[in-house]
Protein backbone atom coordinates (compact mmCIF):
# COMPACT_ATOMS: atom_id res chain seq x y z
CA UNK A 1 0.00 0.00 0.00
CA UNK A 2 2.97 2.32 0.41
CA UNK A 3 2.89 3.44 -3.19
CA UNK A 4 -0.68 4.72 -2.99
CA UNK A 5 -0.92 8.43 -3.63
CA UNK A 6 -3.23 10.82 -1.92
CA UNK A 7 -6.38 10.96 -3.87
CA UNK A 8 -9.03 13.47 -4.63
CA UNK A 9 -11.95 14.43 -2.42
CA UNK A 10 -14.13 11.51 -1.44
CA UNK A 11 -17.06 11.77 -3.85
CA UNK A 12 -20.35 11.02 -2.20
CA UNK A 13 -22.98 9.82 -4.58
CA UNK A 14 -25.93 7.51 -4.37
CA UNK A 15 -24.81 4.74 -6.65
CA UNK A 16 -26.91 2.19 -4.85
CA UNK A 17 -29.84 2.02 -7.28
CA UNK A 18 -28.61 1.32 -10.82
CA UNK A 19 -31.96 2.15 -12.47
CA UNK A 20 -32.16 5.55 -10.80
CA UNK A 21 -28.55 6.24 -11.69
CA UNK A 22 -29.18 5.24 -15.30
CA UNK A 23 -32.14 7.64 -15.47
CA UNK A 24 -29.96 10.44 -14.09
CA UNK A 25 -27.22 9.59 -16.59
CA UNK A 26 -29.71 9.64 -19.45
CA UNK A 27 -31.19 13.00 -18.45
CA UNK A 28 -27.79 14.57 -17.90
CA UNK A 29 -25.92 13.32 -20.93
CA UNK A 30 -28.43 12.43 -23.65
CA UNK A 31 -28.26 15.71 -25.60
CA UNK A 32 -24.47 15.85 -25.55
CA UNK A 33 -24.20 12.23 -26.69
CA UNK A 34 -26.78 12.68 -29.42
CA UNK A 35 -24.92 15.69 -30.85
CA UNK A 36 -21.68 13.72 -30.97
CA UNK A 37 -23.39 10.59 -32.31
CA UNK A 38 -25.11 12.56 -35.07
CA UNK A 39 -21.78 13.93 -36.18
CA UNK A 40 -20.24 10.46 -36.19
CA UNK A 41 -22.99 8.78 -38.20
CA UNK A 42 -24.71 9.12 -41.56
CA UNK A 43 -28.29 9.60 -40.34
CA UNK A 44 -30.35 10.71 -37.35
CA UNK A 45 -31.69 7.16 -36.93
CA UNK A 46 -28.15 5.76 -36.77
CA UNK A 47 -27.30 8.41 -34.17
CA UNK A 48 -30.35 7.51 -32.04
CA UNK A 49 -29.40 3.83 -32.18
CA UNK A 50 -25.81 4.63 -31.26
CA UNK A 51 -26.88 6.65 -28.21
CA UNK A 52 -29.28 3.89 -27.18
CA UNK A 53 -26.52 1.28 -27.46
CA UNK A 54 -24.30 3.47 -25.29
CA UNK A 55 -26.88 3.72 -22.50
CA UNK A 56 -27.64 0.00 -22.74
CA UNK A 57 -23.96 -0.65 -22.17
CA UNK A 58 -24.14 1.65 -19.15
CA UNK A 59 -27.12 -0.40 -17.95
CA UNK A 60 -25.12 -3.63 -18.30
CA UNK A 61 -22.07 -2.33 -16.44
CA UNK A 62 -23.36 0.18 -13.86
CA UNK A 63 -20.48 -0.51 -11.48
CA UNK A 64 -17.84 0.46 -14.02
CA UNK A 65 -19.19 4.00 -14.51
CA UNK A 66 -17.06 6.46 -12.56
CA UNK A 67 -18.58 8.96 -10.17
CA UNK A 68 -18.94 12.67 -11.03
CA UNK A 69 -20.49 14.44 -14.02
CA UNK A 70 -17.27 14.96 -15.99
CA UNK A 71 -16.11 11.38 -15.36
CA UNK A 72 -19.49 10.00 -16.39
CA UNK A 73 -19.44 12.08 -19.55
CA UNK A 74 -15.93 10.89 -20.43
CA UNK A 75 -16.93 7.26 -19.82
CA UNK A 76 -20.06 7.53 -21.96
CA UNK A 77 -18.25 9.36 -24.78
CA UNK A 78 -15.55 6.69 -24.89
CA UNK A 79 -18.12 3.89 -24.91
CA UNK A 80 -20.03 5.62 -27.69
CA UNK A 81 -16.88 5.98 -29.78
CA UNK A 82 -15.94 2.33 -29.19
CA UNK A 83 -19.37 1.13 -30.29
CA UNK A 84 -19.14 3.35 -33.36
CA UNK A 85 -15.66 1.98 -34.07
CA UNK A 86 -17.04 -1.59 -34.17
CA UNK A 87 -19.80 -0.50 -36.57
CA UNK A 88 -17.31 1.44 -38.69
CA UNK A 89 -15.02 -1.58 -39.05
CA UNK A 90 -17.92 -3.70 -40.32
CA UNK A 91 -19.01 -0.95 -42.73
CA UNK A 92 -15.45 -0.45 -43.92
CA UNK A 93 -15.21 -4.04 -45.08
CA UNK A 94 -18.53 -3.67 -46.91
CA UNK A 95 -17.64 -0.35 -48.54
CA UNK A 96 -14.28 -1.72 -49.71
CA UNK A 97 -16.20 -4.55 -51.36
CA UNK A 98 -18.61 -2.07 -53.00
CA UNK A 99 -15.78 0.14 -54.21
CA UNK A 100 -13.93 -2.82 -55.70
CA UNK A 101 -16.77 -4.91 -57.09
CA UNK A 102 -19.53 -2.38 -57.74
CA UNK A 103 -17.32 0.54 -58.81
CA UNK A 104 -18.90 3.20 -56.57
CA UNK A 105 -18.51 6.75 -57.93
CA UNK A 106 -15.93 8.99 -56.26
CA UNK A 107 -16.86 12.12 -54.35
CA UNK A 108 -17.05 15.31 -56.32
CA UNK A 109 -18.82 18.67 -56.64
CA UNK A 110 -22.13 18.97 -58.44
CA UNK A 111 -24.01 21.79 -60.13
CA UNK A 112 -24.70 24.93 -58.12
CA UNK A 113 -28.48 24.47 -57.66
CA UNK A 114 -30.22 23.66 -54.38
CA UNK A 115 -30.24 19.95 -55.02
CA UNK A 116 -26.56 20.17 -55.89
CA UNK A 117 -25.86 21.94 -52.60
CA UNK A 118 -27.64 19.21 -50.64
CA UNK A 119 -25.70 16.52 -52.50
CA UNK A 120 -22.46 18.44 -51.93
CA UNK A 121 -23.17 18.63 -48.20
CA UNK A 122 -23.91 14.92 -48.11
CA UNK A 123 -20.71 14.21 -50.04
CA UNK A 124 -18.63 16.31 -47.66
CA UNK A 125 -20.24 14.54 -44.71
CA UNK A 126 -19.62 11.17 -46.36
CA UNK A 127 -15.96 12.07 -46.68
CA UNK A 128 -15.73 11.96 -42.87
CA UNK A 129 -16.22 8.19 -43.15
CA UNK A 130 -12.59 7.92 -44.22
CA UNK A 131 -11.62 8.77 -40.64
CA UNK A 132 -11.69 6.22 -37.84
CA UNK A 133 -14.37 7.06 -35.24
CA UNK A 134 -11.87 8.24 -32.66
CA UNK A 135 -10.12 10.51 -35.16
CA UNK A 136 -13.46 11.68 -36.47
CA UNK A 137 -14.65 12.43 -32.93
CA UNK A 138 -11.52 14.49 -32.32
CA UNK A 139 -12.02 16.43 -35.57
CA UNK A 140 -15.70 16.98 -34.75
CA UNK A 141 -14.98 18.11 -31.19
CA UNK A 142 -12.31 20.55 -32.33
CA UNK A 143 -13.78 21.86 -35.58
CA UNK A 144 -17.51 21.79 -34.87
CA UNK A 145 -17.88 21.83 -31.11
CA UNK A 146 -14.90 24.16 -30.58
CA UNK A 147 -13.55 22.17 -27.62
CA UNK A 148 -9.96 22.99 -26.63
CA UNK A 149 -7.28 20.35 -27.14
CA UNK A 150 -6.58 19.81 -23.39
CA UNK A 151 -10.30 19.25 -22.79
CA UNK A 152 -10.53 16.73 -25.65
CA UNK A 153 -7.49 14.91 -24.28
CA UNK A 154 -9.08 14.76 -20.85
CA UNK A 155 -12.44 13.61 -22.22
CA UNK A 156 -10.91 10.78 -24.24
CA UNK A 157 -8.25 9.87 -21.70
CA UNK A 158 -5.35 10.39 -24.10
CA UNK A 159 -2.44 12.82 -24.25
CA UNK A 160 -2.62 16.24 -25.89
CA UNK A 161 0.09 15.18 -28.32
CA UNK A 162 -2.07 12.27 -29.46
CA UNK A 163 -5.02 14.62 -29.94
CA UNK A 164 -2.87 17.00 -32.03
CA UNK A 165 -1.59 14.09 -34.09
CA UNK A 166 -5.12 12.80 -34.80
CA UNK A 167 -6.22 16.32 -35.71
CA UNK A 168 -3.35 16.76 -38.10
CA UNK A 169 -3.87 13.35 -39.72
CA UNK A 170 -7.64 13.92 -39.87
CA UNK A 171 -7.25 17.28 -41.62
CA UNK A 172 -4.77 15.74 -44.04
CA UNK A 173 -7.09 12.83 -44.90
CA UNK A 174 -10.06 15.17 -45.30
CA UNK A 175 -8.09 17.52 -47.52
CA UNK A 176 -7.27 14.58 -49.78
CA UNK A 177 -10.85 13.27 -49.77
CA UNK A 178 -12.33 16.74 -50.37
CA UNK A 179 -9.72 17.95 -52.87
CA UNK A 180 -12.39 18.69 -55.45
CA UNK A 181 -14.21 21.01 -53.00
CA UNK A 182 -11.24 22.75 -51.51
CA UNK A 183 -9.92 23.60 -54.99
CA UNK A 184 -13.32 24.74 -56.21
Amino acid sequence: MNELNVARVVPVADIGNPIERLAILFDGHYDRLYRLARRLTASADDALDLVQETFLKAARYPRSIPVGFANEEAWLVRVLINIRRDQWRKNLTRSRFEATVCGKSPLGPTNGDLEGAVIARASVWRALDVLSPRRRAIVVMRELEGIAIPAIASLLGISQITVRWHLSMGRRDLTTALKAYTEE
Binding site: V10, L22, Y30, L56, S64, V67, T182
Partner: protein, 208 residues
Protein backbone atom coordinates in the same frame (compact mmCIF):
# COMPACT_ATOMS: atom_id res chain seq x y z
CA UNK B 1 -11.96 28.15 -52.05
CA UNK B 2 -13.22 26.83 -48.75
CA UNK B 3 -11.18 25.50 -45.87
CA UNK B 4 -11.82 22.09 -44.33
CA UNK B 5 -13.35 23.76 -41.29
CA UNK B 6 -15.77 25.78 -43.44
CA UNK B 7 -16.75 22.74 -45.49
CA UNK B 8 -17.43 20.74 -42.34
CA UNK B 9 -19.45 23.53 -40.76
CA UNK B 10 -21.57 23.90 -43.91
CA UNK B 11 -22.18 20.16 -44.03
CA UNK B 12 -22.87 19.73 -40.29
CA UNK B 13 -26.21 17.88 -40.16
CA UNK B 14 -27.12 19.56 -36.88
CA UNK B 15 -27.30 22.87 -38.79
CA UNK B 16 -30.04 21.52 -41.00
CA UNK B 17 -31.84 19.11 -38.68
CA UNK B 18 -33.60 19.67 -35.40
CA UNK B 19 -32.53 17.77 -32.31
CA UNK B 20 -34.58 14.70 -31.50
CA UNK B 21 -38.14 15.39 -30.40
CA UNK B 22 -39.14 15.02 -26.76
CA UNK B 23 -41.35 12.05 -27.79
CA UNK B 24 -38.40 10.27 -29.38
CA UNK B 25 -36.29 11.03 -26.36
CA UNK B 26 -38.94 9.77 -23.90
CA UNK B 27 -39.47 6.65 -25.98
CA UNK B 28 -35.74 5.82 -25.92
CA UNK B 29 -35.52 6.65 -22.21
CA UNK B 30 -38.37 4.29 -21.35
CA UNK B 31 -36.93 1.55 -23.55
CA UNK B 32 -33.47 1.78 -21.96
CA UNK B 33 -34.81 1.86 -18.40
CA UNK B 34 -37.16 -1.06 -19.15
CA UNK B 35 -34.28 -3.18 -20.45
CA UNK B 36 -32.17 -2.28 -17.41
CA UNK B 37 -35.03 -3.04 -15.06
CA UNK B 38 -35.71 -6.44 -16.67
CA UNK B 39 -32.02 -7.31 -16.52
CA UNK B 40 -31.97 -6.43 -12.82
CA UNK B 41 -35.05 -8.54 -12.10
CA UNK B 42 -33.50 -11.50 -13.90
CA UNK B 43 -30.30 -11.10 -11.92
CA UNK B 44 -32.31 -11.01 -8.67
CA UNK B 45 -34.27 -14.16 -9.47
CA UNK B 46 -31.61 -16.82 -8.95
CA UNK B 47 -32.76 -20.34 -9.77
CA UNK B 48 -33.51 -22.26 -6.61
CA UNK B 49 -31.19 -25.12 -7.53
CA UNK B 50 -28.31 -22.68 -7.90
CA UNK B 51 -29.01 -21.14 -4.51
CA UNK B 52 -29.10 -24.61 -2.94
CA UNK B 53 -25.79 -25.43 -4.61
CA UNK B 54 -24.21 -22.24 -3.28
CA UNK B 55 -25.49 -22.88 0.25
CA UNK B 56 -24.10 -26.41 0.11
CA UNK B 57 -20.75 -25.18 -1.17
CA UNK B 58 -20.65 -22.53 1.56
CA UNK B 59 -21.35 -25.16 4.21
CA UNK B 60 -18.62 -27.43 2.83
CA UNK B 61 -16.17 -24.50 2.86
CA UNK B 62 -16.97 -23.74 6.50
CA UNK B 63 -16.41 -27.37 7.47
CA UNK B 64 -13.12 -27.50 5.52
CA UNK B 65 -11.89 -24.28 7.11
CA UNK B 66 -12.88 -25.49 10.57
CA UNK B 67 -10.79 -28.66 10.22
CA UNK B 68 -7.99 -26.86 8.38
CA UNK B 69 -7.62 -24.45 11.28
CA UNK B 70 -7.13 -27.33 13.69
CA UNK B 71 -4.91 -29.40 11.44
CA UNK B 72 -2.80 -26.80 9.70
CA UNK B 73 -2.93 -23.39 11.34
CA UNK B 74 -0.27 -21.77 9.05
CA UNK B 75 -2.63 -22.15 6.07
CA UNK B 76 -5.44 -20.42 7.90
CA UNK B 77 -3.21 -17.62 9.13
CA UNK B 78 -2.27 -16.93 5.49
CA UNK B 79 -5.96 -16.63 4.60
CA UNK B 80 -6.39 -14.00 7.31
CA UNK B 81 -3.18 -12.26 6.23
CA UNK B 82 -4.81 -11.43 2.88
CA UNK B 83 -7.54 -9.45 4.63
CA UNK B 84 -7.43 -5.65 4.50
CA UNK B 85 -8.47 -3.69 7.60
CA UNK B 86 -10.60 -0.74 6.53
CA UNK B 87 -11.18 2.28 8.77
CA UNK B 88 -12.41 5.81 8.33
CA UNK B 89 -11.23 8.26 10.99
CA UNK B 90 -11.85 11.93 11.59
CA UNK B 91 -8.65 13.94 11.26
CA UNK B 92 -7.28 17.40 11.97
CA UNK B 93 -4.67 19.42 10.15
CA UNK B 94 -3.02 20.63 13.36
CA UNK B 95 -1.80 18.65 16.39
CA UNK B 96 -3.85 18.62 19.57
CA UNK B 97 -4.19 16.56 22.71
CA UNK B 98 -5.63 13.10 22.10
CA UNK B 99 -4.71 13.07 18.42
CA UNK B 100 -1.90 11.04 16.93
CA UNK B 101 0.18 11.97 13.92
CA UNK B 102 0.07 9.76 10.81
CA UNK B 103 1.87 10.04 7.50
CA UNK B 104 -0.25 10.00 4.37
CA UNK B 105 1.05 7.24 2.07
CA UNK B 106 3.04 8.41 -0.92
CA UNK B 107 3.40 11.99 0.34
CA UNK B 108 5.34 14.02 2.88
CA UNK B 109 2.13 15.18 4.51
CA UNK B 110 0.88 14.28 7.94
CA UNK B 111 -2.56 14.43 9.46
CA UNK B 112 -3.62 14.15 13.08
CA UNK B 113 -6.05 11.32 13.65
CA UNK B 114 -8.76 10.94 16.26
CA UNK B 115 -8.39 7.73 18.20
CA UNK B 116 -11.66 6.01 17.30
CA UNK B 117 -12.60 4.79 13.85
CA UNK B 118 -15.99 6.04 12.65
CA UNK B 119 -16.59 3.01 10.45
CA UNK B 120 -14.72 -0.25 9.90
CA UNK B 121 -15.08 -3.39 7.79
CA UNK B 122 -18.19 -4.49 9.67
CA UNK B 123 -20.00 -1.32 8.54
CA UNK B 124 -19.54 -2.10 4.83
CA UNK B 125 -22.26 -3.81 2.85
CA UNK B 126 -20.20 -4.17 -0.31
CA UNK B 127 -17.06 -3.02 -2.06
CA UNK B 128 -16.38 -2.98 -5.77
CA UNK B 129 -13.96 -1.76 -8.42
CA UNK B 130 -14.65 1.40 -10.42
CA UNK B 131 -12.62 2.19 -13.49
CA UNK B 132 -11.10 5.67 -13.20
CA UNK B 133 -10.64 8.32 -15.90
CA UNK B 134 -7.77 6.43 -17.45
CA UNK B 135 -8.33 2.83 -18.34
CA UNK B 136 -5.26 1.63 -16.42
CA UNK B 137 -6.36 3.23 -13.15
CA UNK B 138 -9.00 1.98 -10.78
CA UNK B 139 -10.86 3.21 -7.72
CA UNK B 140 -12.58 1.22 -5.02
CA UNK B 141 -16.21 1.99 -4.25
CA UNK B 142 -17.48 1.20 -0.78
CA UNK B 143 -21.13 1.07 0.25
CA UNK B 144 -22.01 1.21 3.90
CA UNK B 145 -24.75 -0.79 5.60
CA UNK B 146 -27.49 1.12 7.50
CA UNK B 147 -25.47 1.09 10.71
CA UNK B 148 -22.34 2.37 8.92
CA UNK B 149 -24.33 4.99 7.02
CA UNK B 150 -25.79 6.34 10.27
CA UNK B 151 -22.41 6.45 11.99
CA UNK B 152 -20.50 8.15 9.16
CA UNK B 153 -23.29 10.62 8.44
CA UNK B 154 -23.50 11.70 12.07
CA UNK B 155 -19.73 11.98 12.47
CA UNK B 156 -19.03 13.85 9.22
CA UNK B 157 -21.99 16.22 9.69
CA UNK B 158 -20.13 17.62 12.72
CA UNK B 159 -16.84 17.72 10.83
CA UNK B 160 -17.61 19.89 7.78
CA UNK B 161 -14.56 21.69 6.39
CA UNK B 162 -12.16 19.33 8.16
CA UNK B 163 -10.39 16.24 6.86
CA UNK B 164 -11.31 12.58 7.14
CA UNK B 165 -8.79 9.84 6.57
CA UNK B 166 -9.26 6.42 5.01
CA UNK B 167 -6.93 3.82 6.44
CA UNK B 168 -6.11 0.44 4.96
CA UNK B 169 -4.23 -1.86 7.32
CA UNK B 170 -3.59 1.07 9.65
CA UNK B 171 -2.00 3.27 6.97
CA UNK B 172 -3.60 6.49 5.82
CA UNK B 173 -4.07 5.97 2.08
CA UNK B 174 -6.09 9.07 1.42
CA UNK B 175 -7.53 12.12 3.08
CA UNK B 176 -10.32 14.38 1.97
CA UNK B 177 -11.98 17.52 3.23
CA UNK B 178 -15.60 16.90 4.19
CA UNK B 179 -17.74 19.23 2.06
CA UNK B 180 -21.03 17.63 3.06
CA UNK B 181 -21.96 14.71 5.28
CA UNK B 182 -20.84 11.38 3.80
CA UNK B 183 -23.75 8.99 3.58
CA UNK B 184 -24.23 5.63 1.88
CA UNK B 185 -21.03 5.39 -0.11
CA UNK B 186 -17.49 6.59 -0.60
CA UNK B 187 -14.82 6.07 -3.20
CA UNK B 188 -11.19 5.30 -2.43
CA UNK B 189 -9.40 6.85 -5.37
CA UNK B 190 -5.74 6.86 -6.25
CA UNK B 191 -3.28 5.43 -8.72
CA UNK B 192 -4.48 1.89 -8.19
CA UNK B 193 -3.81 -0.86 -10.66
CA UNK B 194 -6.59 -3.36 -11.24
CA UNK B 195 -4.72 -5.95 -9.16
CA UNK B 196 -4.32 -3.54 -6.24
CA UNK B 197 -7.99 -2.51 -6.45
CA UNK B 198 -9.08 -6.17 -6.53
CA UNK B 199 -6.85 -6.93 -3.57
CA UNK B 200 -8.42 -4.11 -1.57
CA UNK B 201 -11.97 -5.11 -2.52
CA UNK B 202 -11.37 -8.74 -1.57
CA UNK B 203 -9.49 -7.73 1.54
CA UNK B 204 -12.13 -5.29 2.73
CA UNK B 205 -14.88 -7.85 2.45
CA UNK B 206 -12.87 -10.67 4.00
CA UNK B 207 -13.07 -9.22 7.52
CA UNK B 208 -16.57 -8.70 8.88
Amino acid sequence: MKSITELLRDADPLLHESMTSSEQRDYRRKAILAVASRARDRAGAEPRSRVTLLVTLGFVMIVVLFFAERMWSPLVSNVYAAAVRFEVKLAEEKPAAGLHEAKVSGTDRSVYLHADAIVTNSDISQAYIIQADHSSQYNVGVEFNPSGTGKIRAATARHIGKPVAILLDGQVVMTAIVREPIAESAVISGDLSRTEAEKIVKGITTIR
